[in-house]
Symmetry: C2
Subunit: 196 residues, 2 copies
């Protein structure tokens, strides 16, 4: 890695929590300058514009979140247990994440009527997330662990909806309660998919 | 109503979709001026500052959404059917709403690390929403329509999480699919609460 690459990486790591907390429009040049300790010219030597920095910040925040959420999944043998581990990770493995909540939720709400490049990145991330969960469900059906009548797409969409909606509620209320309700509900739902 | 009240009301109605779509920081004075056809001084004759206008806009957007979501609920006799009607309304009764999606979701994400006055309004709206749904569940338990072991708070939190999370996904993907998955899941879940 060149010195330039390292500086770029450092700028992204310091800009990511600002974009994740304040949104694209809400992030000001002065906040970015004070977080990175660089002048405007120093930042934009590495990025074409604010949008390019915001996109890199989203990717950084999302990669960290995705890594945490898929931890220890492979250690579980049964597909139902893998899905339950995913739900547990979403709630528990929050150390080291970029501050400000789930980057997909934040960017989705921030960019659904706004920045098209950011919306596109959030949309891709969501699509891959749905695909990975629905693949787990499909594998479970094939292996005879999950009921034949389970709908992989619907199961994936429900898991993500419940978690993201509950995260929004928990952050707004400053209480873990909605996330705990979400976990109890999803664990019961996932158990109901077991084939036996 | 005085002429001033009418103007105030008109400004709020025209500002609400801008705040709901773009967020507090993303809403610029020039957009507000062009939407209302007023100069800055004309707008701020009726509002102390941008925050007061944003709060009034949130209240306006939320009142319209809440009214639609509780339509025809009273016509249903059973509590389970009332909750199912609520889910149906969330998806179907979107005519006349302020553009940009659910005001509670938008304001929660926009303001969770931002404007405290707005966050407070979104938090109150969410609290009342949870209370009203959990009251319906509690009434159902008392009347013997809903199982004794149903948890009113958890049921309310799950309904809201699923709907808000699915709305986020649907808006991001430009597809009704996640909301349809949410409805199918919630209807099945609510049926499972029936006491018989």
């Amino acid at each position: 890695m060149t010195k330039g690459d390292l500086t770029r990486q450092r700028i992204v790591a310091e800009a990511a929590p600002i974009f994740n907390k304040r949104g694209f429009e809400g992030t000001s040049m002065s906040e970015l300058m004070s977080a990175t300790g660089l002048q405007k010219g120093g930042i934009y030597r590495h990025f074409k514009n604010k949008e390019e920095l915001a996109v890199a910040s989203f990717e950084h925040a999302w990669n960290l979140a995705a890594r945490q959420r898929w931890l220890e999944i492979d250690k579980k043998v049964s597909s139902v247990d893998q899905l339950k581990q995913f739900v547990a990770n979403f709630m528990e493995k929050r150390a080291g994440l970029v501050a400000g909540g789930c980057p997909v939720l934040n960017t989705a709400v921030d960019a659904d009527d706004g920045n098209p490049a950011l919306r596109e990145r959030a949309r891709s991330a969501l699509t891959l997330w749905i695909r990975r969960l629905s693949r787990t469900v499909r594998a479970g059906i094939t292996k005879g662990e999950i009921r034949q009548d389970a709908d992989p797409q619907q199961t994936a969409a429900v898991i993500i909806s419940v978690l993201e909606g509950a995260l929004m509620m928990s952050r707004l209320q400053g209480s873990e309660k909605p996330l705990e309700h979400a976990r109890a509900h999803l664990n019961k739902f996932l158990e109901s998919l077991r084939a036996y």
